[in-house]
């Protein structure tokens, strides 16, 4: 009995009881829908995090005082606080002079939070930091109005500010932010540039910041120390692998800090991959649990299919007897029922996939980016078909093993 014969037979059996087939598949459909939907949300979420938070796709990395693993527990934190010195401009210059593989390097201070008021308008929790002018290039800052500050403005500690879109909008609702002054802790700064609005990432506003030249910031906010200490943003040269640039910077900083070959780094270098990896490890357990729930629905769906296939074998005992009396081999009967349960289940998987895809599409349009990669879709159909075949194995084996004369006696 060949493939197309078996397929025709399976289709006619499934369509002979349309309602029953559909009800049988509900578990499979719900399980697969939930599974694919959650998967697409997780993948979409990961993509979003990688792009927006980790900065995957940019070629920038950060040199900072602490490394991720320094935060393991209070002992490692204490040890790192003793060992790891704040980064200095000396070190920045040393790297800048020595490095071959980096395109740009620039310092950025830690930030402070302040509320700002202009006339009757105010805005809370503004993040104020100092940066070197080159940071505009490294961060690929998009300017809505005006310009970023210059090296001269930085070197002379000019009182100029580059602000996020919310600052301009909230403090100067009538417009005219560019060129206006705003006071921070009593000191006035002139707004020379406004960034293109960025919106929010996970509800965190991205347009609620003020950047000052780092020298200005250091002079007016109590020096570049403690939480205001600088870190370095670095980009690799075109055509250079990021790891190589990272290695070069690490080596230079180790030389500058006179670290022996056996000594650990007393600074941290954070790449987008490392951030994404850390977030990934934090969300992994959560993802597995989320996928486990619909996974259980799939198992229940498989049990329902097995049950209905057992019913089908009992109902069709006479048919099996007739087929055997006409020369059907055990393999023919086995294949017939396995095919039927596999196809049935794959149809359920396909419907589930379709619903999940449609729902994901709507979610992407209105809420949040989701994605079902093609391999997940193929896998879904394959897994549901495979689950169906597994669920059909026992019933099909029962059918194939039936004694022809016993089966013929059934009614």
């Amino acid at each position: 009995m060949n493939f197309s014969e078996t397929l025709k037979l399976a289709i006619s059996s499934i369509t002979a009881h349309k309602l029953r087939s559909f009800l049988t598949l509900l578990g499979m459909i719900i399980g697969m829908t939930a599974f694919m939907l959650i998967l697409s949300l997780l993948l979409g979420f990961n993509g979003y995090v990688n792009e927006k938070v980790a900065g995957i796709g940019s070629n920038a990395f950060t040199v900072q005082r602490f490394n991720f693993d320094d935060f393991k527990d209070s002992d490692t934190i204490a040890a790192a606080q003793r060992r790891n010195k704040e980064l200095s401009f000396d070190e920045l210059d040393f790297i800048k002079r020595g490095a071959q593989m980096i395109e740009h390097i620039g310092a950025r201070s830690g930030g402070v939070g302040r509320s700002i008021r202009v006339g009757n308008n105010s805005i809370q929790n503004v993040r104020i930091s100092g940066v070197e002018p080159v940071i505009a290039t490294i961060d690929k800052i998009e300017i809505e109005q005006g310009r970023f500050f210059s090296d001269t403005e930085n070197n002379t500690a000019a009182r100029v500010a580059f602000v996020g879109a919310d600052i301009a909008k909230n403090l100067f609702p009538q417009g005219g932010a560019l060129g206006s002054e705003l006071k921070i802790s009593g000191i006035p700064y002139r707004i020379i540039g406004i960034q293109v609005a960025k919106g929010t990432v996970f509800g965190q506003p991205q347009d609620n910041f003020i950047q000052l030249p780092i020298k200005t910031f250091g002079a007016n906010f109590g020096g570049l120390r403690w939480n205001r200490a600088p870190n370095f943003a670095v980009t690799a040269k075109e055509g250079v692998k990021m790891e190589d640039a990272v290695d070069e910077v690490r080596t230079l900083l180790r030389i500058k800090r006179k670290l022996g070959p056996d000594e650990k780094d007393n600074f941290g270098i954070i790449t987008p991959d490392a951030i994404s990896g850390m977030i990934g490890s934090m969300t992994a357990v959560f993802s597995i649990v989320l996928l486990l729930v619909p996974g259980i629905a799939l198992v229940v769906g498989a049990i329902v299919i097995m049950n209905i296939m057992l019913v089908a074998v009992t109902e069709r005992t006479k048919e099996i007897g007739i087929r055997k009396s006409l020369g059907a081999r055990q393999a023919d009967i086995l294949r017939q029922f396995l095919f039927e349960s596999g196809l049935l289940s794959a149809i359920g998987g396909f419907i589930g996939l379709f619903i999940a895809y449609t729902a994901g599409y709507i979610i992407t349009l209105y809420v949040f980016p989701t994605s079902i990669p093609w391999y997940a879709a193929v896998l879904a159909i394959g897994v549901s078909g495979g689950v169906g075949i597994l669920a059909g194995l026992f019933p099909a084996w029962k059918a194939a093993a039936l004694d022809p004369i016993e089966a013929l006696r059934a009614d």
């Binding site: 009995m1 007739i322 006409l326 055990q330 004694d403």
Partner: protein, 240 residues
């Protein structure tokens, strides 16, 4: 398996059907029920044999053994010289598919399938391609004068028509032997006569036929009659 049964060589090993000391015993709780006791006989190619006997005498049991649907408790059964007890499941399936055409009292058609598809079934399991299959099934239905009923389902056919579909199906693979267990048992007498005429024609065409019946009119059409009583052969006579 060709030489594995030299002990039976004396009793015409080239018989189409050869049964020697066949027992079929059912275990009913603690009691043993012997449906067949020590049955021995052989059937040659081209014969037309009727098996008669009262109800419960073991006729169907014997037919199911001949048709390789069931296996004996004891004894030797050779079909075309091959020892059935040594055959694998697949070989038995092949015998049922190619060597034997079985016609049942209750037709045993697939109720969801058309007459054409029912007739095609043995060809499907013989691995014949769809085109040839349709043609042969149509021709077989034509031969039993049902050429205009190919797409009818069993419940859209009369009893006699259903039995003719079953006969067309039994003959489709050109079997060595046609087995019919009370083929007219569920039919009225006029239809029975038609079916018996069809059997006579099939026999005239060279088919080997074994028919089980308890109707004397049916049995008298055959050339040889075996009478069974209490699972034993009581009489075996050639009448033509």
């Amino acid at each position: 398996m060709a030489n594995s049964h030299t002990g039976t060589a004396m009793v015409k090993e080239d018989s189409l059907i050869l049964m020697k000391n066949i027992w079929k015993t059912y275990q009913m709780g603690v009691e043993e029920l012997h449906a067949l006791r020590d049955v021995s006989f052989h059937v040659e190619k081209g014969d037309y044999l009727a098996i008669i006997g009262p109800s419960g005498s073991g006729k169907s049991t014997l037919m199911n053994l001949i048709g390789c649907l069931d296996s004996p408790t004891k004894g030797t059964y050779l079909i075309n010289g091959h020892l059935v007890s040594e055959m694998t499941d697949d070989e038995l399936a092949r015998i049922r598919n190619k060597e034997i055409g079985f016609v049942f009292q209750t037709f045993n058609l697939l109720s969801r399938a058309t007459a054409l598809h029912n007739v095609e079934l043995p060809l499907i399991y013989a691995g014949i391609r769809a085109g040839e299959r349709h043609e042969r099934a149509k021709a077989a239905l034509d031969a039993v004068e049902l050429g205009d009923r190919t797409l009818h389902r069993p419940n859209e056919l009369s009893g006699g028509q259903r039995q003719r579909v079953a006969i067309a199906r039994a003959l489709i693979n050109n079997p060595s032997i046609l087995l019919a267990d009370e083929p007219t048992g569920a039919l009225d007498s006029k239809t029975s006569v038609e079916i018996m005429a069809l059997f006579e024609k099939l026999h005239a065409d060279g088919n080997t036929i074994i028919v089980v019946t308890h109707e004397h009119e049916v049995a008298e059409r055959a050339h040889r009659i075996i009478t069974i009583r209490d699972g034993q052969i009581e009489n075996d006579e050639r009448i033509k």
